[in-house]
Amino acid sequence: MRISTGYGSRPVSGGFETFTWYFMRISAIGLVFLAIIHLILNHVTTDVACTSYQLVAIRYANPYWRVYDWLLLTLALLHGMNGLRVVIDDYVQSTAWRIRLVSLLAFLTLALFMVGTVTLITFQPVAGSLGPHCLK
């Protein structure tokens, strides 16, 4: 990862910054659909109080839901964390702090990606967890 130090010549075309510029736009096209459909499914067509363990068990019986959620997890996390990296580069003036914060961000991104991926892959509904899924 390239961390801006404020020294050296202006970045030329190509390289990490150009790559992330394109990545933000390409991931955005996917996220517009993935995130808005996700929002509609879990807040509109199904009330959020019904998105219980039982509902996850029904949905995750179909592996396509896991693929959908994993794509959303991966694209949203990378898109969001890269956005925050740009914000840090804009406002944190000290090079040392910029390096610390962006390193922390990279670590956090990896940790959250792993937590999310492991949750998606390893989910196995416990016996007897199928049934009515609206809470209360």
Partner: protein
Amino acid sequence: MYRGQTGMWAWMLHRITGIGVLLFLIVHIVDISLLGFGPTVYNEGIALFGTTVVRVVSLALIGALLYHAFNGIRIMLVDFVPMAVRYQRILFWTVMILTIVCFLPMAYFVIAPIFGVNAGNTASGV
């Protein structure tokens, strides 16, 4: 030229909504990881989302996500369609109107249960 014009507000809102959605994403990855602890623990976490306070917070999330999505499309249009830059203002207000038009019906479904209104999406059973 730029300061105080629609472009500045669009840019500022894009950052604020982006950071807001990212904060929610971090919380959301953690709350989904509760799946690994079984139905009781997971459903206790999900029950929080059904409370009045979190429903109102969800409205902010929905508004932020819709704005960020539509404004992102505006940014890509300005980046890739040469003539789009001539319609800056119209594009910005289109983003705002689309955000509000999509937000209102979604907000209805989210807050209806607070007032005991059955919006048709809370039926028990599968």
